[in-house]
Amino acid sequence: MSETVQSPIDSTHRSGQRPMIALEGVSKTYPKQSKPAVAELNLQVPEGAIVTLIGPSGCGKTTILKMMNRLIEPTTGRILLAGEDVTDVNGDQLRRRIGYVIQQVGLFPHLTIGDNIAVVPKMLGWDKRRVASRVDELLHLVGMEPDDFRDRYPRQLSGGQQQRVGVARGLAADPPVMLMDEPFGAIDPITRERLQDEFLEVQRQVAKTICFVTHDLSEAVKLGDRIAVFAARGRLAQYDTPSEVLAHPADDFVTEFVGSGAAVRRLSLLEINLLELEEIVISGAGAAGKDHPVLSVDGAGHPSAWQHLPGSEHLPPLVTVPLSGTVYDAVDVMLDGRAPVVVVVDDNGQPRGALHWEALVADLRTKGQPR
């Protein structure tokens, strides 16, 4: 992995520049404790971005999140929401303007799913019709059929469904900001993965500014436009894009925290469609030069087998990976199929190029970069 792969996956294009949330010199000292839990923190969250807050347990990341909506009052410092100083406004009013989702979900068990989602709009005095249509809209958004779920009760739902409702409740009054405290932390790995994908899909549609606390580095990397890595006492050790954090940890603490798996994790940030792939030749299409891999295809144009690989005596089994996947997926199928090369196919199953194992460990070239 070299520097050359970083610019295309820098995700600043997904987020604006104006800070939606700004913490200025924020400290929190709990009563009867001499040392602060969070000391002199400055943090700016750009509008429309997902910022994941990560760090070892007890580093104060949840405290920091809860100071943003003043569930925990900072001892010193200022909190700005879209440029407005909200350090001293009414906390309950403030929280109605900020979505909040927690790990334990905390749905109100005595209210129906619809009423749970409608809590904040009702407090804000929306009229009944507007509330009802908003509830249906949100249930659709999180992939639950309103007619099936509106009148059910939380205990009738699975954990994953409950957290979907939790997210819908957070989004109910269309707040510009969402705070999420390990929302998928208590959910089984398979469901978690699906919820993360759905969450990104929802975010594509709603484009909120989101602060997301997690202790799972893969989650932080997958979801975050930026990652804020915290050390003990709420010290912001590094605040950068996932690829930067993985490739260039700011100090020893981050290096240790990111751990030895950093290089592998970075593969999942690298989308195949941004890479310059090796040309392949379809057998029978003529001009079968000896320096390009040759592939035979079936009637529909789908790859069926290797005909020739330059510099290789034994032809490996054919494995494919979709163009929309990541390099991580490519490595996965290569290891799985014991093949040193993988064919990249597009949505229609047509071969678009090849990716070599040697290219991965040597120097990946992204499009538009000189050789």
């Binding site: 929280r95 109605r96 927690i102 005595h110």
Partner: protein, 228 residues
């Protein structure tokens, strides 16, 4: 047996009157006790009604003190309590209701406090996180969720008070205490045993009526989402 049935039919008007009195005496006392206990518990449990610096100590202290007083009231021998109240409040209905209310507070208070603190902290945190103030949080979330526990406390109070209420007869109180004590006083005389049996069975009938009331009330007041 035949003579007892004849006794019942000859005295039916009077017995129905006793039953009504007993039912209402228990109802007023437990009702009053529930209002007092609920008000106390809500006051102690709703954050931010008290200054922040002594909020916690006040809540814990207030909670323990009120439970201690209420349980002390329950341990006073009923005979003595009615006797003590007599010089202050005289005879009849008023001192009976006051005494029985004192007995009923403890079970209601105990269950109300237990119910309110058994509410899932995550639910309360979510309530705070979506911007509910302390009063709204109590009335819209915590109280409805604690309600099944509270109502079972009220039911226990009713059962206790039904049997204690017969002692009210010593200060001329209403209810089945009167035939029971008359009968016990003249045991061996005509109909005396019938009166004792009637007083006892009467309490059971009143208790059965209340059980029916509670089934209906619990059904109607428990939110569907938390019904078991």
């Amino acid at each position: 047996m035949e003579s007892y049935l004849r006794y019942l039919s000859e005295n039916s008007t009077e017995l129905i009157f006793y039953a009504q009195q007993h039912f209402l005496l228990v109802g007023y006392s437990v009702g009053l006790a529930s209002v007092i206990a609920l008000a106390l518990a809500l006051l102690l449990h709703t954050n931010q009604l008290t200054p922040p610096s002594w909020r916690r100590s006040l809540r814990v202290g207030g909670r323990e003190t009120s439970l201690l007083l209420a349980s002390a009231a329950l341990t006073i021998p009923s005979l003595a309590l009615f006797g003590i109240l007599q010089p202050l409040l005289g005879l009849g209905v008023t001192p009976s209701i006051v005494a029985l209310t004192l007995y009923a507070i403890y079970p209601v208070l105990r269950n109300t406090l237990a119910g309110l603190s058994s509410v899932d902290p995550a639910v309360l945190e979510a309530a705070r996180g979506v911007g509910m103030g302390p009063v709204r949080r109590m009335l819209r979330v915590q109280l409805p969720l604690a309600w099944p526990v509270i109502i079972s406390g009220i039911r226990v109070a009713v059962l206790i008070v039904i049997s204690i209420a017969v002692v009210a007869a010593i200060i001329n109180g209403p209810g089945f205490g009167k035939p029971l004590q008359d009968g016990l006083a003249r045991l061996g005389a005509v109909n005396s045993f019938n009166e004792v049996i009637t007083g006892t069975l009467g309490c059971l009938v009143v208790a059965a009526c209340y059980e029916i009331v509670f089934v209906v009330v619990r059904r109607l007041t428990t939110p569907r989402g938390i019904r078991v």
